[in-house]
């Protein structure tokens, strides 16, 4: 009995999300006479989900670990700017596209580690530390970019990351790989278990001998790194670096994570849920545009649908409780 509820619990909870996604697709198919279900459109949805998806995977970790990172969007912007400066591009021309990638990843990682150090060792509340980083990274990006959009001209980079692989865009593959790695990391490794422990009861984790400060540092570093990966994807997709890239991604990512079923208070996280959450939001926007909905109406509908999806999940969860007795 207990194994049954252990198995069916998460499955049913995911069930609510899957149902929400399926309903959205049904609406999409019903209202757009074939334009929704085309391969091209599905690819569009996946491509749009990819960047925010990667960032959301990182966010899942930091939230599961009891924190929050409001700076992901602006760190992503900063990383795109830094990785597309003229000097980076010249170096990339000389040494290879990996220079750009490395720059973006290192910028993301470093910003994340600064966040982590402030939260873990400076005991600055995560909300404040990362809000400060949000402001600072955006400012720094503006200074570096001189408020220009920096266009990426390094063909090897564009060839690799704007290309297709087995019919899917490269950035979709990156999302798939990051999501799979994230799932594995959270569910199958000691790092993941520590994350859950630190988020669930930091004092208990500490007294059990887990180095919670160092782990917290790693968590923010990881999230920063995903923002760096997101920056690479953004550079590929828009062929430009800009300090405005990633604006409000923090809210989108947190929304996807929480709608997916990760506890905002920490201690429980689900990568599958996050992926579903991201797909739901991307599909929603797509269906709206396919129906040529006015942007104000879109906003209202989006609000209503988010709430409906969560209520649906609630309902599934209560059914789960009912069936397991």
């Amino acid at each position: 009995m207990s194994t049954r509820s252990a198995l069916s619990g998460p499955a049913l909870r995911m069930g609510g999300l899957v149902l929400a996604l399926v309903l959205l697709c049904v609406v999409g198919i019903a209202t757009t006479d074939g334009r929704f279900a085309s391969i091209g459109n599905i690819t569009t949805i996946l491509s749009l989900a990819a960047t925010i998806g990667v960032v959301s995977i990182g966010m899942t970790f930091v939230i599961t670990g009891g924190g929050i990172d409001l700076s992901v969007g602006s760190v992503l912007g900063l990383a795109t700017v830094w990785a597309s400066t003229l000097s980076t591009q010249y170096m990339a021309e000389d040494y290879g596209w990996w220079v750009i990638v490395l720059t973006a990843l290192v910028v993301g990682l470093c910003a994340g580690l600064v966040n982590g150090a402030l939260v873990a060792y400076g005991r600055v509340p995560a909300f404040i530390a990362t809000l400060a980083m949000l402001a600072a990274a955006r400012g720094l990006a503006e200074i570096i970019a001189g408020r220009r959009t920096q266009i990426v001209d390094v063909d090897p980079f564009l060839d690799v990351f704007r290309g297709d692989l087995l019919g899917l865009p490269m950035i979709v593959w990156i999302f798939v790989v990051v999501a799979a790695a994230g799932w594995f990391l959270l569910n199958r490794t000691t790092f993941g278990r520590r994350t859950i422990a630190v988020g669930g009861n930091p004092e208990a984790a500490r007294l059990a001998g887990i180095k919670i400060k160092r782990h917290t540092l790693y968590l923010y570093g990881l999230t920063g790194l995903t923002a760096g990966i997101g920056a690479v994807m953004m550079l590929a997709r828009t062929t430009a670096g800009s300090s405005t890239h990633g604006t409000l991604y923090e809210l989108d990512a947190i929304a996807a994570v929480v709608v997916g079923g990760t506890l905002l208070a920490g201690g429980r996280g689900t990568i599958t849920g996050t992926v579903l959450g991201v797909l739901i939001f991307a599909t929603l926007t797509n269906v709206f545009v396919l129906n040529n909905l006015d942007s104000s109406v879109q906003a209202i509908a989006k609000g209503a649908i988010i709430v409906a999806a969560v209520l649906l999940q609630q309902w599934f969860a209560s059914r789960e409780r009912a069936t397991s007795t």
Binding site: T149, T247, V289, L290
Partner: protein
Amino acid sequence: GCTSNEPRETEDTATGPVTVTENDEPGDEVVIGFSAPAADHGWMGAITSAAQAEADKYEDVTLQVAEGTNDVNVQISQVEGFINEGVDAIVLLPFDGAALTEVALEAMEAGIPVINVDREFTSPFAARTTVLGDNYGMGVSAGTYICERLGDNPDAVVAEIAGIDSLPLTQDRSDGFKDALDDCGLDVDARVAADFTVEGGEEQTANLLSAEPQIDAIWNHDDDQGVGVLAAIENAGRDEFFMVGGAGSINMMEEIQSGESVVEATVIYPSTQAADGVKLARLIAQNKTVGDLASIGVPRTVQLHAPVVTADNVEEYLSVGFES
């Protein structure tokens, strides 16, 4: 076909051809307060940079630049700050013209001339001089161009990629566009709003292209987000339509110049408005008059021209394009 972002040697080309008049002779020292929305995109960034560059040309001008902000409350307090300080003139590009009207009135009442840039106040007494772009006219120009190209085909699919929908200026542009299309029997078949950002341009355009398998023309309100729009078009491998831009960035002009791009035209929305504002503020504060006009004093309203840039005349306008 990506454009390059090699640095231009002459930074000040962005402010256009310089006509030296006796007005440029140093006069009384003036302090000019400047406040504009957040420089969160290229055009707005160019506005501020151009204003600063213009001020730097005059040794008698000190420009006090307040933090760019999209919060009218903060912007009001910035103007209040200028009044407290007793600056000699204020150049104000309000986030929302209506919301800043009262505080501008207060400044005027305190004897500080206000030069209103781009987004118009609701009271004629709130500004000594108004330098206006022409948002409605921009829409009309874009619509008219599209009408000329597609006028004979009433079934043509026209798409519009707007900026931030909650801004009145977006509404003005859309209205102008719609009215112009109406005149030739066309309408807007698909419309998205892309937040004036590269990323928004990419995302919204990707969806738009999915939604409309066959498009004849696109008007994109803003050349900054145009970088993203073009990326999305390229991602989707589409080229059956032509596109008209907005604002007039160098990128887009180079696209037009190349002749291989879907971008055929762009409608100029001068990023030098605030620089004009600074120049006029200086003249007003020093009690000088505008040259080349017979009348005395600085005019009440200056509305800037919003021409369409095409392959035919792009050479002419490259110099006033801004770096997005």
